[in-house]
C-alpha cells in the first residue's frame, strides 16, 4: 500500500495539543463584542471625503472634460483628472511576494481618452463632506462620444471587431498537448461532446471597499484599507512615481474579499488625493460603487469532447476554453491558466488536447474570484462526466471511480502530484451522507448530484512565491507573532496564533498577532490562492521552531538533558522522558533574556520555484500541490415552476491537516453557500456593456432562507505542503459546490440546463422542451 494511502486508516496518530481542534478564533471576541475596527471605522481630524466620477457608457471617446465648476465649489479640496497624474497607469498584475517581472498590462488610472467599460473612473474629488464631494461630481462636465464597442467574445474574435486590447483582443492563450488525442478518440467506443457556459458574478462581500489615507511626518503615504493584499503599496508607489518605501498599506480585519480585494481598489485614489491636498482622505464605496468599481468573475464557455470505452474508461479529452477578460488584463491570463490546468478534472487521461484563450470586450473587466478559473473548469468537467454517464448507461459515481487520479498519478500537465489523492474516499463519504433520495411527489422531483475536483493551492511555481513571518517571546514569557498576511475573515491571524502556540506551548488565546502592515510586519503576500495558511503558516512555523530550538537548548542545559527531550505545553517546559521535571516557560525565558539568547526569529518560507510550463505542450508543474475532494447535493425541483430547493449539501475534502477545525468548516460552509448562489441565482447581466443588475435587489445572493445546513466531512491525509501537512481549503470548499447543484438538478428533471445560472425559467423551459421531445 502506498504510504500516503495508509493514512486513511488512521496510522498516523499525531497528538497535537491545539492544532486540529475546533477552537474559538482569536479574532472572535473583538468581533462579537463590537471592539474590532474595520477599515471604514477609522477617522482622523481634518479628514476629507472622496468620491469617484465614473463613465456612464461602456465605450466612448472623451472629447471634453471640464472640472472648473467642481473645483470652484466651496468645500472642495481637490478634483483630479488624468491631466493631474504624473504617471497615467497602474499595474493590474498579481501583487505579492513574487519574484517575477510583471506583465505590461497596466490600466489607465483615470480616463484620458477612451472609456473602455461602464464605470471606468474619470475624475476623483476630495471635499469637506461626502455630500459636497457628491455635489462636485455633478458639476463636472464630460462629453463622451460613443465609439463602437464589442460586447461578446464571439464578436470580439472577428477580424473586423473593434479593438479593445492589443491588435486582436486576445489577452492570453494556452495549449496542453499530452499523448495523441486522435489516437485516443480512435480507441473510443463513445464520444460525448457538450458546451457549458458560466456567467459574470460578483464577490458581494459584506464590506464594500473603503480606506483612509494620510501623509506622515516622514513623507510616507499611509493607507488604512480593506484589502487582501498590503503588497499593492508597490503598484501605488510606482503609479505615483514614489519610492516603494514611501507608501505604506495598513490593513484592518476585512469584511470579506473572495478575490475582489486583491487588486488595487480605493487605495490609489486615496493616495493621489492625500498627496494633492496634504490632508487625510477617506474613500468609502457605496454598494453601487462596488458593483462598478472592481473586477468580476470571468464568464467562461467550455466545450468538452470526451472519448470513452464502453466500460467507461476515458480515452481522450479535447477541451476548448474561452474566457471573457473585459477591456483590461488584470488576472485574466492567470485565471485562464488555472482553468486550462484543471481542464480535464481529477481524472487520469492519457490523451489530452486543450486550447484556451481569454478575450477582451467592453463588458466589465474580470479578475480574481475564489477558485480562480479552476471553478469554471469544474463546472464543465463535472457536468460532462454526468452527461457521459447518461450516454454510457453507467452509474455516475462508478464512472468517476473508473477514471479518478490516484495518489502518485500524473495530472494533465504531466506533473506527478506528491501528496495524497483521496478523491474517491471523499466521493464515497459525501454520497453516503446524502442517503436515500425521497420519493417524487406531484410536480416535485428529487435529485442527487456530485462533483469531484482538483484545485491547486499556493501560487503558480514560476511566480517564485515567498512569505515571511516573525515570532518573538517577551521577557515575561508572552508571545508575539508578526505577519504581513491580511485577515479576510477566514481566521488567518488566529491560525498563526494556534501554530505558534502549539510549538511554544502557549495557549493561542494568549498570543498577540500583529498583521497586515506593509512597513512593520514581515511581508507575506496576499490572502488569496488558498495560500494564506500554506505560506504564512509555514513561515510562522519556521520562526516558532527556531525560537523553540534555542529555548529548548537552554532548557536542556537546565534539566541536564538533551534538547530533543524538551517539550513545551501549558506555559510549562518539561522533559518528555520525565514530565515531573518542569519549569515555567516564563522562567526559562527570563534566563534566556539575561543570557542574551535570541528570543525572536524572522523566517522566510519559499514555495517550490520553477519555470513556466512548456508553451507548446503545456507540460510541466503549475502548482506546488493540489487539494482533492467532492461535494454532494440533494435537491427538490418543482418541474412546473422550475424552482429549486437545496435539501442537503455535503462537502468532503482531504485538507491534509486541519489547524482550526471550526475555521475549516467555516471556509467550506461559506464557499458552498457562494457555490449555491453561483449555480442558481447570481448573475451580473451586461447588456451591450451596461450593467442591468447594479444592486443587491437585482443581483441575488442566497439568503438564509435559501441555504440548507451544510455538512462538512474533513479528512486529514497529513500529506500537504502546509504546516503539519495542511493543504489549502479557502477555494477548494467552493469549487465543486456549483456543479454538484447542477448535476442534482439535471438528475431531478432528467435533462440539463447547460447555461449557468439555473434560473427557475431556464429549468421550467428545459423540462417543457424535454417533454415535448418525448
Amino acid at each position: 500500500m502506498n504510504k500516503l494511502d495508509s493514512a486513511a486508516t488512521g496510522e498516523h496518530n499525531v497528538n497535537f495539543r491545539q492544532i486540529g481542534k475546533a477552537r474559538t478564533r482569536t479574532d472572535s471576541p473583538g468581533k462579537v463584542f463590537g471592539k474590532t475596527p474595520y477599515a471604514g471605522d477609522y477617522v482622523m481630524p481634518d479628514m476629507l471625503h472622496a468620491r469617484v466620477l465614473r463613465a456612464k457608457v461602456p465605450s466612448a471617446r472623451m472629447t471634453r472634460l471640464d472640472v472648473s465648476k467642481a473645483r470652484a465649489l466651496p468645500g472642495v479640496a481637490a478634483v483630479l483628472t488624468f491631466k493631474d497624474l504624473k504617471i497615467g497607469t497602474v499595474a493590474t498584475d498579481i501583487p505579492g511576494q513574487t519574484g517575477f517581472k510583471r506583465r505590461a498590462t497596466d490600466q489607465q488610472i483615470l480616463v484620458d481618452e477612451l472609456v473602455r467599460y461602464q464605470g471606468e473612473p474619470i475624475a476623483i474629488v476630495a471635499a469637506e463632506t461626502v455630500e459636497i464631494a457628491q455635489h462636485a461630481l455633478s458639476l463636472i462636465e464630460v462629453d463622451l462620444e460613443p465609439v463602437p464597442g464589442v460586447y461578446n467574445v464571439f464578436d470580439a474574435q472577428k477580424p473586423d471587431a473593434p479593438k479593445v486590447f492589443g491588435t486582436d483582443n486576445l489577452v492570453a492563450s494556452y495549449k496542453v498537448r499530452k499523448g495523441d488525442v486522435e489516437v485516443g478518440f480512435a480507441a473510443a467506443d463513445v464520444i460525448v461532446e457538450n458546451t457549458f457556459t458560466t456567467q459574470y458574478i460578483e464577490h458581494a462581500f459584506l464590506e464594500p471597499e473603503v480606506g483612509l489615507g494620510w501623509e506622515d511626518e516622514q513623507g510616507v503615504i499611509n493607507i488604512r484599507s480593506s484589502t487582501q493584499a498590503v503588497e499593492t503599496f508597490r503598484y501605488i508607489a510606482d503609479a505615483m512615481g514614489l519610492p516603494h518605501s514611501k507608501v505604506r498599506i495598513r490593513g484592518a480585519l476585512v469584511g470579506g474579499g473572495f478575490g475582489g480585494k486583491c487588486d488595487v481598489t480605493v487605495e490609489l485614489y486615496i493616495a493621489l488625493l492625500t498627496k494633492a491636498t496634504g490632508r487625510p482622505v477617506r474613500l468609502g464605496y457605496s454598494r453601487e460603487d462596488s458593483f462598478y468599481g472592481h473586477g468580476k468573475r470571468h464568464p467562461f464557455i467550455i466545450n468538452h469532447k470526451t472519448g470513452f470505452t464502453r466500460d467507461g474508461k476515458i480515452t481522450a479529452s479535447k477541451i476548448d476554453i474561452t474566457s471573457e477578460s473585459g477591456p483590461y488584463a488584470f488576472m485574466s491570463p492567470y485565471v485562464l491558466m488555472y482553468a486550462t490546468e484543471a481542464g480535464p478534472g481529477p481524472y487520469l487521461v492519457d490523451h489530452v488536447h486543450i486550447d484556451s484563450r481569454s478575450i477582451a470586450t467592453n463588458n466589465m473587466y474580470t479578475s480574481a474570484f475564489r477558485g480562480f478559473g479552476a471553478t469554471q473548469a469544474c463546472i464543465a468537467y463535472e457536468q460532462q462526466m454526468d452527461e457521459a454517464a447518461k450516454v454510457l448507461g453507467i452509474d455516475r459515481i462508478e464512472l468517476r471511480r473508473r477514471n479518478l487520479l490516484k495518489t502518485g498519478d500524473a495530472i494533465a500537465t504531466g506533473f506527478k502530484v506528491q501528496s495524497a489523492v483521496w478523491t474517491e474516499e471523499c466521493m464515497d463519504r459525501a454520497m453516503a451522507a446524502l442517503g436515500e433520495k425521497p420519493k417524487d411527489k406531484g410536480a416535485i422531483r428529487y435529485g442527487h448530484g456530485l462533483a469531484a475536483y482538483q484545485q491547486g493551492y499556493g501560487r503558480m511555481i514560476w511566480l517564485h512565491d515567498t512569505a515571511e513571518g516573525w515570532v518573538g517571546v517577551e521577557m515575561d514569557g508572552t508571545v508575539l507573532v508578526r505577519s504581513g498576511m491580511t485577515d479576510i475573515g477566514a481566521g488567518q491571524t488566529s491560525s498563526l496564533a494556534q501554530i505558534a502556540g502549539e510549538l511554544l506551548g502557549i495557549d493561542m488565546m494568549d498570543i498577540t498577532v500583529y498583521n497586515s502592515d506593509s512597513s512593520t510586519t514581515p511581508l507575506a503576500g496576499t490572502s488569496s490562492a488558498s495560500r494564506g495558511l500554506y505560506m504564512s503558516g509555514n513561515a510562522v512555523r519556521l520562526a516558532a521552531e527556531a525560537v523553540r530550538d534555542r529555548l529548548a537548548a537552554r532548557a536542556a542545559k537546565h534539566f541536564g538533558s538533551t534538547a530533543d527531550d524538551v517539550d513545551f505545553a501549558n506555559a510549562q517546559v518539561f522533559l518528555k522522558s520525565d514530565p515531573r521535571q518542569t519549569m515555567p516557560f516564563k522562567e526559562l525565558v527570563a534566563v534566556c533574556a539575561s543570557e542574551g539568547i535570541h528570543r525572536a526569529e524572522l523566517a522566510i518560507f519559499r514555495a517550490p520555484f520553477g519555470d513556466w510550463i512548456d508553451p507548446e505542450t503545456g507540460q510541466g508543474q503549475v502548482h506546488p500541490d493540489y487539494t482533492y475532494g467532492a461535494h454532494a447535493v440533494q435537491v427538490a425541483v418543482d418541474t412546473e415552476t422550475g424552482e429549486v430547493t437545496i435539501l442537503k449539501s455535503i462537502g468532503a475534502h482531504d485538507i491534509g491537516q486541519a489547524v482550526n477545525m471550526a475555521a475549516v468548516e467555516g471556509q467550506i460552509e461559506g464557499g458552498v453557500a457562494q457555490g449555491h448562489g453561483y449555480a442558481l441565482s447570481e448573475e451580473l447581466i451586461y447588456k451591450d456593456g451596461y450593467l442591468v443588475t447594479p444592486s443587491l435587489s437585482e443581483y441575488l445572493c442566497p439568503t438564509s432562507m435559501d441555504s440548507p445546513r451544510i455538512e462538512c466531512i474533513v479528512l486529514e491525509s497529513r500529506s500537504g505542503l502546509g504546516p503539519f501537512g495542511a493543504k489549502g481549503i479557502g477555494e477548494p470548499g467552493h469549487t465543486p459546490a456549483a456543479p454538484a447543484v447542477a448535476n442534482a438538478v439535471a438528475d431531478a428533471i432528467g435533462t440539463r440546463v447547460f447555461d449557468f445560472p439555473l434560473t427557475p425559467e431556464k429549468i421550467a423551459n428545459a423540462v417543457r422542451k424535454a417533454r415535448k421531445a418525448g
Binding site: 457605496s286 412546473e640 442558481l680 442591468v692 441575488l700 421550467a764
Partner: protein, 289 residues
C-alpha cells in the same frame, strides 16, 4: 446617493392630514410608512418627493381589529403584525401566507400594509391576497373620508385614485363566512428577500357543491396587480371540475399581459400564471371538500 428631502413627523392622524392637505401632486408630499420600498427607490433613482410625511409611527394607525364581520387593519400595521395576529390564519389565510414570504424578517418588521399598497408596484405581495379577500381601502383627507374597493384603487402602473392630499388610513375585508378558503403563492428567483416574478392569490366560497364566490388575483403580470375576472367567471356558479379548473387557469393566462424584465420573461410569467392558478384553485377546493 439619496435625494434631498424634508421629513415631517406628525404626532397623530389629524396633524398628518393637516400636513398633507396642501399637497397638490405626488411629487410634493409622499407618505412614508416603513420606508422599505420608498427609501430604496430614492437611493436607486436619486429622486424623491420634496417632502416625506412619516405616518408609520402613528400609533392609532397600527393594529388589526375583527368586529362586526369585518377585519380592519390600520395603515401602519406591519407585515410582522399580520403574522403575529392569532386569528389571521382563519380570517385571511392568503394574506397570512403572503406575509410569511414577504421579503425578509427585517423588512417585515417595518414594512407597512399601506406602504405596500401605495407604492403601487405590480409585484407588491400583500395586494393579491387582499384583492382575493375582497378588501376595501379607506382614504382620508381634511375634506372627508371615502372607501374604495381595492380592485378599483389602481388605475395603472404606479397610479391610483388616491388624491395628493389623501392618506390611505385603513384596509378592511369581510370575515370569510361559510365554506371558504384562500391561498397565495409567490414565485421568486430565490426564497428570501425576493421580488416576485409571479404572485397569485385565490379565494373561493362554496355552497351546495358550487362556487358562490370566486376571486383570482394576479401580481407582477401587468401594470398593476389585477383580478382575472374572466377566469373567475369560468368557475362562478359551477361545480369545480378538473376541466373547469384547467380552463380557468388557461383563461387567466390569457388575461394577463406581463413584460420581460431581468427577473423573468413575459412568456414564462404567462405560463406560470396558468400553473399557479390551476395549483391554487386545486389546493383551495381540496381544502373545502
Amino acid at each position: 446617493m439619496y435625494a434631498d428631502f424634508d421629513l415631517l413627523i406628525p404626532e397623530g392622524l389629524n396633524q398628518a392630514l393637516g400636513m398633507i392637505a396642501k399637497s397638490k401632486a405626488d411629487t410634493d408630499i409622499a407618505p412614508l410608512g416603513g420606508g422599505t420600498n420608498l427609501v430604496v427607490e430614492m437611493r436607486a433613482r436619486g429622486k424623491a418627493a420634496a417632502t416625506l410625511l412619516s405616518v408609520g409611527q402613528i400609533a392609532d394607525l397600527r393594529g388589526i381589529e375583527i368586529a362586526d364581520g369585518r377585519v380592519t387593519m390600520g395603515a401602519a400595521t406591519t407585515v410582522s403584525d399580520i403574522l403575529r395576529h392569532p386569528r389571521m390564519p382563519d380570517v385571511g389565510s392568503a394574506l397570512f401566507e403572503s406575509a410569511g414570504v414577504f421579503a425578509g424578517q427585517m423588512v417585515r418588521n417595518t414594512a407597512t400594509v399601506a406602504g405596500n399598497i401605495c407604492c403601487g408596484s405590480p409585484a407588491a405581495d400583500l395586494v393579491p391576497p387582499l384583492l382575493a379577500l375582497g378588501a376595501s381601502v379607506t382614504l382620508q383627507s381634511q375634506r372627508g373620508e371615502r372607501t374604495v374597493p381595492l380592485d378599483k384603487y389602481f388605475t395603472g402602473y404606479k397610479t391610483s385614485v388616491r388624491k395628493p392630499d389623501e392618506l390611505l388610513t385603513a384596509i378592511s375585508w369581510p370575515v370569510p363566512a361559510g365554506k371558504s378558503a384562500s391561498r397565495f403563492y409567490k414565485l421568486g428567483r430565490r426564497k428570501g428577500d425576493a421580488i416576485t416574478m409571479v404572485g397569485v392569490s385565490v379565494f373561493i366560497e362554496m355552497a351546495g357543491g358550487v362556487c358562490t364566490t370566486v376571486r383570482i388575483a394576479l401580481g407582477a403580470v401587468g401594470p398593476c396587480v389585477m383580478r382575472a375576472g374572466k377566469a373567475e367567471a369560468v368557475l362562478l356558479g359551477k361545480a369545480p371540475t378538473a376541466e373547469l379548473i384547467e380552463k380557468a387557469a388557461s383563461v387567466a393566462e390569457g388575461e394577463c399581459a406581463p413584460i420581460d424584465d431581468i427577473r423573468a420573461s413575459g412568456a414564462y410569467r404567462k405560463q406560470q400564471v396558468q400553473v399557479l392558478v390551476r395549483r391554487l384553485l386545486n389546493q383551495t377546493i381540496e381544502s373545502l371538500s
